[in-house]
């Protein structure tokens, strides 16, 4: 039954609906795969085998009773460990939450359960979603299935690696500056960041509240769209959730799969051209552009003069919000408490707890944000970054008057070896050079595999206007139909 792990989510759903395999068989095949390869990959922080089998049996019982099944019923999914799962350990990759079992489900997880998907477990990530390599996970890094000595991207490297290694057909990620798309790019998988507010943040452990966006990870564009439709939509528990219908992403993916992009205008951002990207990444990107042109798309160059300030603005805005959000980890209501000897004050215990519970990148960002928000520096740093955010949004709006979508490489470089960017944190930040503008604007972005450079996957990014997520799925599916999907080397033996 191992071929069940090679099937797409769409195929698995069909197989289960027809009765060719039960949801339990599908689930067991993936749990077996996890048992066989996760020792090498380390995509999972927690595998909930019992919960998964129970969820699968419920789907099988529903089918036996003749009830209608949803489009992903019985399909396994892995969830990034930053989304709360009731009674199932949730750490956000941090020691400060080790052993915590949330008393509630996040909205995304609740919708996954309602749809009959089977949650296999929680995936590894950079601590509190801060990083581009999983090297900042307190529980050790995830290894890229393409080359176990290289990073799987981050922060959602566990989710991307789990699907690349056939441990799950689908996974959930969260994207604040590229944490779904960059791991997708370097693992040869599809990673989609929906419009901010299109997916609920309720139960998503907050890093940067004005940017954090949950989204789907999959091996095909159609699978990502199917998962997108299940997880998205308005949620009254999230005050920034957009009260509108989910864009028709599945329909758009199916349209794109026909391989016709006649009349679609793609914008290449002048300011992104060549800057900081590896030659092999640029070559694969230009090959993909040529392939899209053959499908009927028109390529136009557009200028976005403020994109060059996106990375600096992001590294003021996100740390500022992080320094405020992570104040909740005070050793009182949940998680770790260190140094409470009966004599020390609350403040001393709090400082010792946070020192012991947070890793280096989280500490850097808390201090950076504290600095940017402090009186005397607020206007020059945080205030100015918010103004730059306005200008970046204006650049996007002007560009989308000329073109339907913007395209770029997803990340400037292919998967890099472990340890090569940890000593200089700013070098790590550059991984998100091309993904960050979209987060500041709030629109959707997707990474889809477009080829190899030095034997490693390259991602092609498509960015669309807010709440026009369907546009990027159409172009992504068309590209996939032209260049195909990527298969990593075998992990067996």
């Amino acid at each position: 039954m191992s071929d069940l792990t090679r099937m797409t989510a769409a195929e698995l759903a069909g197989t289960i609906a027809k009765g060719d395999a039960s949801a339990e068989e599908v689930t067991r095949a993936h749990l077996d795969r996890i048992a066989a390869v996760d020792g090498k990959v380390h995509a999972f922080l927690h595998v909930d085998a019992d919960g998964a089998i129970n969820a699968a049996r419920k789907v099988d019982a529903k089918r036996a009773a003749g009830d209608e099944l949803g489009p992903l019923a019985g399909v396994p999914v892995a969830v990034k460990d930053v989304l709360t799962t009731r009674g199932v350990p949730t750490t956000a990759g941090s020691k400060i939450l080790e052993g915590w079992r949330p008393p509630y489900d996040s909205t995304v997880v609740e919708r996954l359960r309602d749809a009959g998907t089977v949650i296999l477990g929680k995936t590894n990530m950079d601590e509190f979603a801060m990083g581009s390599s999983t090297e900042y996970s307190a529980y050790g890094p995830t290894n890229n299935p393409w080359d176990l000595g290289r990073i799987p991207g981050g922060s959602g490297g566990g989710s991307a690696a789990a699907i690349a290694a056939y441990e799950a057909p689908l996974a959930i990620g969260t994207d604040t500056g590229g944490s779904i798309r960059q791991p997708g790019a370097v693992t040869g998988t599809v990673g989609s960041k929906p419009t901010y507010g299109g997916t609920s943040r309720y139960g998503l452990i907050a890093f940067s509240s004005s940017l954090d966006t949950p989204g789907p990870c999959a091996r095909t564009v159609l699978d990502a769209a199917l998962l997108h439709e299940v997880m998205a939509g308005h949620d009254w528990r999230d005050s920034t959730s957009i009260p509108q219908a989910v864009p028709p992403v599945v329909e758009a993916a199916r349209l794109g799969m026909t391989g016709d992009l006649t009349g679609v205008k793609l914008g290449v951002v002048t300011e992104f051209n060549g800057e900081g990207a590896e030659p092999g990444v640029l070559a694969a990107f230009h090959d993909a552009l040529a392939a899209l042109t053959k499908l009927g798309a028109e390529v136009v160059e557009v200028s976005a003069p403020h994109f060059q300030y996106a990375l600096p603005a992001y590294y003021l805005i996100a740390p500022s919000e992080c320094s405020s959000n992570l104040a909740r980890f005070d050793g009182v209501r949940f998680g770790l408490r260190v140094g409470d000897d009966g004599n020390r004050s609350l403040e001393e215990v709090m400082s010792l707890t946070r020192e012991a519970g947070f890793g280096p990148e989280v500490k850097r960002r808390i201090m950076l944000g504290t600095y940017a928000l402090s009186s005397g520096y607020y206007d020059a740093y945080y205030g100015q970054a918010q103004k730059v955010r306005t200008l970046i949004t204006q650049d996007f709006n002007a560009a989308f008057e000329q073109v339907d979508v913007l395209v770029s490489p997803t990340t400037p470089f292919v998967a890099f070896p472990f340890g090569s960017r940890t000593s200089d944190p700013y070098q790590m930040y550059l991984a998100d050079l091309f993904t960050i503008p979209t987060n500041l604007y709030g629109g959707p972005g997707i990474s889809v595999p477009c080829g190899l450079s030095e034997g490693l996957p390259v991602g092609f990014q498509i960015m669309a206007p807010t709440m026009a997520d369907d546009r990027m799925y159409r172009v992504a599916a068309a590209l996939e139909s032209a260049v195909g999907t990527l298969t990593p080397p075998s992990l067996e033996g």
Partner: protein, 99 residues
């Protein structure tokens, strides 16, 4: 010139409630200096008349229906706490008793 001194980083650590070690202070001071010099580039942009964006979704006063709904029980709310006493979160002393 350095954008931030070691003493300033020590001050930030105190404000952030992080009991950092001397060695961490040395490391963070250098790293934060590199990062701050890079992000200071936002100052190059002429933006005096530009309104700030705090959020990409223009929603205001988002309230739910004023109806009673289920919430966590006391036991659920306390279940993850490091220390509990008399059905409440127990915290270390807040006031200095000798003062």
């Amino acid at each position: 010139m350095a954008a931030i001194s070691r003493d300033e980083v020590a001050h930030l650590a105190r404000l952030s409630r992080l009991a950092v070690t001397e060695q961490e202070l040395d490391t963070f001071a250098g790293q934060l200096d590199v990062i701050l010099q890079a992000v200071a580039r936002v100052g190059e942009v002429a933006a005096a008349d530009i309104p700030p964006t705090s959020h990409s979704v223009p929603l205001t006063n988002v309230l739910r229906e004023d109806v009673v709904i289920n919430c966590l029980t006391r036991e659920e709310a306390l279940a993850g706490a490091p220390d509990v006493e008399d059905d409440r979160f127990r915290v270390p002393r807040i006031l200095d008793e000798e003062a």
